[in-house]
Symmetry: C2
Subunit: 246 residues, 2 copies
């Protein structure tokens, strides 16, 4: 069966996350329903990343199979006409049978936004965590450096309510930069893979470090216990920016 790859951007504010859920509307279910409507056949969409409720994406990647090759230009156009305005398919192309949105992934880039001004920027209210308190940026960057590299990230992984726990909790963070632009802090987190809520748990812990809470990142990593790290940062600040393939 012909296989297709799409790049999807979405404002996750009003969704229960990427994955089909018993309650709430998911991005995946919305895409599957529109594809089925246009192609007049059931279509299963597999995403590279199962983003949580309220998390956004500019570069989610997904694949699907169809019985016979559709006109891709028309399909892309029809999809974006039928999809709600908070989901858009940016790219659509045929891929070889071996391609798999999840298993062919080499790495991912997430951005996490913090709004540190006294009054929250109204335009960032769905896209940033409002944190109007002093932060020690140098301490945060030093802590971030300790997390960079290959580690067992069990302490930063939530146990998913559905689906299995990752068998191997070792991941490589190739980059964890904290960029300040005016009153906005942007965490740029790149790695070969991420455990459940790992980015948000890392950001939550780094913000604790920045606000002066004594935190030994090496000890947290070694503990391999979720209770040792800080709380997860809110979903709204997180955006899946890009997924890397070979």
């Amino acid at each position: 069966m012909p296989k297709y790859r799409m790049v999807v951007a979405y404002d996750g504010t009003h969704y229960a996350g990427w994955q089909v859920q018993p309650h709430g509307v998911s991005i995946q279910a919305t895409l599957e329903a529109r594809l089925a409507q246009i192609l007049r056949q059931p279509v299963a969409v597999t995403g590279a990343s199962r983003t949580d409720a309220g998390v956004h994406a500019r570069g989610q990647v997904a694949h699907f199979l169809v019985a016979k090759p559709p006109d891709l230009t028309r399909l892309l156009y029809s999809l974006n006409c039928l999809l709600p305005a908070d989901i858009r398919v940016l790219e659509l192309e045929a891929v070889p049978e071996e391609f798999h949105a999840r298993y062919s992934t080499l790495g991912k880039l997430y951005h996490y936004l913090l709004c540190t001004s006294q009054a929250q920027d109204p335009f960032a209210r769905f896209y940033a965590w409002h944190y109007p308190y002093p932060l020690n940026l140098a301490a945060m960057r030093e802590a971030a450096l300790l997390l960079t590299g290959t580690h067992d990230f069990t302490s930063f992984a939530n146990v998913p309510t559905e689906g299995a726990v990752a068998r191997n909790p070792v991941r490589t963070l190739s980059r964890l930069a904290i960029i300040q632009e005016g009153a906005q802090l942007r965490f740029e987190v790149e790695g070969n893979g991420f455990l459940h809520k790992m980015v948000r748990n890392i950001v939550g812990t780094l913000v604790e470090v920045g606000s002066g809470k004594p935190r030994d990142l090496q000890q947290i990593l070694q503990a391999r216990d979720r209770r040792c790290a800080g709380p997860a940062a809110p979903a709204r600040g997180l955006c899946l920016e890009r997924i890397f393939f070979s």
Copy 2:
């Protein structure tokens, strides 16, 4: 009576505009209601610019009078606690009696955003006009240059449904730049004052020029007839960025 000046940012998507309206919720009425609630007295708020329904602001300026001086730090904090998340007061300070948000204004800066990618960026859906068609940027910039300077802008002014027509339709546009960043076009429009819907009518006309419609800007200006210029660009793309005072 002590006088105060505030800088207000708002996402205008869900409002009937700045000014108190018989139907729909306005930014002005929302601010007045919250100020009255906190200060326990009726408060009239006067804005520098009467932005239309759906238009945004990052730097609206307004003034109000109160019977006796409030604690400004507490007032600012309380206001932002009580206001809906799409309106935020960014600055609040005492001003001399002579200050008037409308009459003390020396100039204003507006931005207008166009999203030109095939599929609209879902994050820009409330903040940009989606125009996925080819545009001749050079022709638009040439036309923009003809509008820069001091002119009678009657052809670019709607007759307001309420309130009087400006007695003097001569305005000075000090800058009308068109900046391209990826798939986004940003019109930066700065001038000493603007007639009703003037920015949106200018953008709508420049987009006509860019899409190849023969348009003589000098002739349009000279006609002093609204029907000669192009249609208004949609409200959602417009944002009042800054207001200049002496």
